[in-house]
């Protein structure tokens, strides 16, 4: 040590490789970790020992045939509803961006009506369609000749009503997502495609939509999760889904909480599974834009994301 203060004396720098390094202690992490552990133990004990939670009942219904039947309907409703939403939403989005003013207005009114009313009301509306349109018939226009006639309740059973409600509602939300995706693409892309001689439809299908997918996929993933959970609402029209079936059980035995736990466990399982296809789609459409994201098999999506 010099006896006088030497301002230009070089401080110990990381390049002094021989010196031992004392890593920074993350005291905050230890403290918070201990707290979280304590709270978790308390919570698990409280939950596990609470007789009202009735774990045997949870176990009894977790893998019951009735649960699986409901699960099947829930998955099917989510899948079909999303297909309807994405296909219909793309059509409505293109209408909304069309140069045809009639199509633009029709699409605008559709989105306005379906986004502006609660999904619960829409579900009940489709479920009780038979109440104000008792029969559906097809007649030859301007004559009394009836080609086809059937009671509405028979044509539109509860699961079909549920699908109509969820799908038609999703069309409105998907349309806005697709529209935002299309509008996010640089105008130069459309011009380049046009100058090659691509028609507007070819330009949309081959140039704009594939690029817009990068913007569309993440919110569509959210929509799918929301759709999955919204299926629980179709229990109000006895839609035969997971929630409807479990609700029917607790209406009889009053074991509300255990059966809701069964439903929650299955919803968590399904939402967790859904993250896999979403991650794969994100990588698939990041091609050419995300560095290194070229063609990847599905198996790569299953592995944890690499940190860059």
């Amino acid at each position: 040590m010099p006896t006088t203060v030497a301002p230009h004396e070089p401080a110990t720098t990381p390049t002094d490789a021989q010196l031992p390094v004392v890593p920074l202690r993350h005291w905050g992490r230890f403290t918070v970790g201990a707290l979280v552990l304590a709270v978790s133990v308390w919570f698990l004990l409280a939950v596990g020992r609470n007789p009202n939670l009735d774990w045997p009942t949870v176990g009894e219904y977790l893998f019951a045939p009735l649960t699986f039947r409901g699960l099947f309907v829930t998955v099917w409703l989510t899948f079909a509803g999303m297909v309807m939403g994405i296909v219909g939403g793309t059509v409505v989005a293109v209408m909304r961006l069309s140069s045809n003013p009639v199509l633009r207005v029709v699409a605008g009114v559709y989105i306005w009506a379906f986004r502006g009313t609660p999904i619960l009301i829409q579900i009940i509306f489709w479920g009780f369609l038979g109440a104000f349109i008792p029969t559906i018939s097809v007649t030859v226009p301007f004559t009394d000749v009836v080609l086809f006639s059937a009671p509405t309740s028979q044509l539109v059973p509860a699961t079909v009503a549920a699908l109509l409600a969820l799908g038609l509602n999703e069309v409105a939300y998907a349309a806005e997502i697709v529209r935002a995706g299309i509008q996010s693409i640089d105008k130069g892309q459309t011009e380049a495609a046009k100058s090659l001689g691509l028609t507007p439809a070819q330009t949309l299908r081959r140039v704009v939509l594939p690029q817009a997918m990068r913007v569309i996929v993440p919110p569509m993933g959210n929509e799918t999760l929301t759709m999955l959970k919204t299926t629980a609402l179709v229990s109000v029209i006895a839609g035969q889904d997971l929630m409807s079936n479990l609700q029917a059980v607790y209406a009889q035995n009053f074991k509300v909480i255990p059966l809701l736990i069964v439903a929650s466990i299955w919803f968590l399982v399904l939402t967790t599974l859904l993250t896999v296809p979403q991650r794969w789609l994100e990588q698939r459409f990041g091609r050419g834009v995300d560095p290194g994201a070229t063609r990847r098999p599905l198996s790569r999506a299953l592995m944890p994301r690499r940190t860059r």
Binding site: D186, G188, Q189, E191, A192, A193, K194, S195, L196, G197, L198, T199, P200, Q202, R206, V207, P210, Q211, F285, R287, G288, V289, P291, T294
Partner: protein, 268 residues
């Protein structure tokens, strides 16, 4: 060369007819008249360079030639067709987008900002037009695409994505993409303006080769040296009109018009 009379029936441009024949072309956006009567002809095999200050309407004119905009007045014949219209029984009928698309297929365009399709490789970019518009078989289009990439010096970049290429390389892919349609006319809108100075040369070299091969080109550029060397005609544009045009040595070397003189003094 004598130009045909204005209302001469022109079904298709013959080998002697101009590929671009603009007479008094007017184009407005809202209340601003961007093109105020453009007169310009591009003969087959010619290279015409269009110079002028920013905002003078050069891009707008090119976009009109490529049917990306409709004109509001005058007459614009490209490849023997009225842009955006079909002439029948003494009337001009507005064309549908699909019919316009078919006409665009014979005209290539190269943009300032390349506009390559980022989700497709260089080769896929070049194949897009032939496969989708001309309905060529993929293998045939791929062979031709590789040839064209080779021609612009990028044979080894066929499977690269645009994001993996330099600006100069991207612009050369864009030229190959335009060539893949076997265009009768190539339009360039400031093809080197977005490039780093050291990459300008490689793009100009490709364009020089095309000119030597007899490609008809209408080039908007600030590269006065290139225009003087390669162009058959140089045209100077300001405020929506062509102020003077003719032999590039004269227009760019000894301009008569005061606007041209002051512009050249600034760029040179």
């Amino acid at each position: 060369m004598t130009a045909p009379a204005t209302d001469a029936p022109l079904a298709h441009a013959g080998p002697e007819d101009p590929l671009v024949d603009a007479r008094g072309v007017v184009k407005s956006f809202g209340s601003t008249q961007v093109l105020q009567g453009i007169d310009l002809a591009v003969q087959p095999g010619q290279v015409v360079c269009l110079l002028g200050p920013s905002g003078s309407g050069k891009s707008t004119f090119l976009r009109c030639v490529n049917h990306l905009e409709r004109i509001d007045g005058g007459r614009l014949l490209v490849n023997g067709h009225d842009v955006g219209y079909e002439k029948r029984r003494g009337k001009l009928y507005e064309l549908s987008e699909r019919r316009i698309a078919r006409r665009r297929a014979d005209i290539g365009m190269v943009f300032q900002r390349f506009n390559l399709f980022p989700h497709r490789t260089a080769l896929e970019n070049v194949m897009e037009g032939p496969v989708v518009v001309r309905r060529r078989a993929r293998t045939e289009a791929a062979d031709r695409g590789r040839e064209l990439l080779d021609r612009v010096g990028l044979a080894d970049k066929a499977s690269s994505y645009p994001s993996q290429l330099s600006g100069g390389q991207q612009q050369r892919v864009a030229i190959a993409r335009a060539l893949a349609m076997d265009p009768r006319l190539l339009l360039f809108d400031e093809p080197t303006s977005a490039l780093d100075p050291e990459l300008v040369g490689e793009v100009l070299d490709v364009m020089r080769d095309l000119a030597a091969d007899g490609m008809t080109m209408l080039v908007v550029t600030h590269e006065v040296g290139f225009a003087r060397e390669v162009a058959d005609v140089a045209a100077f544009m300001a405020d929506g009109v062509i102020v003077e045009s003719g032999d590039p040595r004269q227009v760019l070397g000894d301009p008569r018009h005061e606007r041209t003189q002051s512009f050249l003094a600034r760029v040179l």
